[in-house]
Subunit: 215 residues, 2 copies
Amino acid sequence: MANCSVDYEGRLNAHLPPATRLIMVKADGCVAVHADGGAYKPLNWMNAPNYLEDHGDEWVVTNPKGERLTIRFEEILSDVSMEMGEDPGLQKDGVEAHLQVLLADQPGVLEDDLQLIRREYFTDIGPVDLLCSDAAGGTVAVEIKRRGEIDGVEQLARYLERLNLDARLAPVRGIFAAQSITPQAKVLADARGISCVEVDYDELRGAESNTLKLF
Amino acid sequence: MANCSVDYEGRLNAHLPPATRLIMVKADGCVAVHADGGAYKPLNWMNAPNYLEDHGDEWVVTNPKGERLTIRFEEILSDVSMEMGEDPGLQKDGVEAHLQVLLADQPGVLEDDLQLIRREYFTDIGPVDLLCSDAAGGTVAVEIKRRGEIDGVEQLARYLERLNLDARLAPVRGIFAAQSITPQAKVLADARGISCVEVDYDELRGAESNTLKLF
DNA sequence: GACTCTATCTCGGTA
DNA sequence: TACCGAGGTAGAGTC
């Protein structure tokens, strides 16, 4: 912790007047300058890889992209250093990727007799989460979100527009699947002829483990 | 700094096995758990406002949204506290707003004989960055981004749809300007009849200062 | 307070 | 490595 002023020149220019701040240097060399507030984001930082020149009362941190962070120290208030070792890392559960895996295994949850053709089916404007075929042999594009908002409907509409240009697939209809869908998104989906399905993550996971137990 | 394990339950679930980490509590009450690497983002955190229950070897931090962060301490390795006071704040220069100012002054960079009608032209779904008229007297809406991605194209398409409802302006076409534009965004822009222009910030700024020197 | 949009976004995945 | 999309996005500005 120190009284310091900071300048950053790189993707933009930024200046911090002198004040008391916490400066954190991690094992990978990244540097962060924190104020005593404003959530977890530092005021200024320089990610690894970088090179730190220590001129005593001034640090100059540069990186290969030509960005530069300059910290001028006026007074050091506290200086603590510690060896921490590798971190085993964060285990996440319940993000969009998870939902996609579960639905790819159980497309029938979205609609009776829906069959998976492909996960992450690529178009030239991005990947469709699930491409399926329905009971009548028609093609169905599924967009999966954790939270279903208007952007997601737009995204699916774009894919449908694109897929319907492909004579081998057309006509393709859409299903918008999410743990919750906003009323606005439902209205837009309806206007675009897209069906909405709200799925329960815990139920899906439960069904999944039952399947695993059964076979 | 402490050996600790952490659990977060909220928008998703996340678990951190026991390891040595730095825990930062700021004056506003926000809590961040940092590993010794991985840029500035903490492994886990809880923003203000929140409520911290200190049970000695366990902290439980909850917020009004019903999210919960639990830190179990196995061993405290270092404990430093300091009063830091208000921070005067960061001064920035060179973000999208800047690019908009530069292009408003030099719309000719985007297309020959393009003339500015208005910056931040308001529609009922949001402001169009630049509204211009072209050599033929037609109206052109310009959307400016630092990085041109598919969302920006959609944004411009929405504005165009809106502007074309106005008989005094229609027909209006679009130009999507950014320092770099992704291939997907280009494909979509093309499909929507929107032209793409990649602009160089430094060149613009250079041209600007030359103009200032000349006149 | 809700909505919109930017960001030195960060981070993970993949071609 | 570069590019692309998700995020517990966060944060700022506006209505």
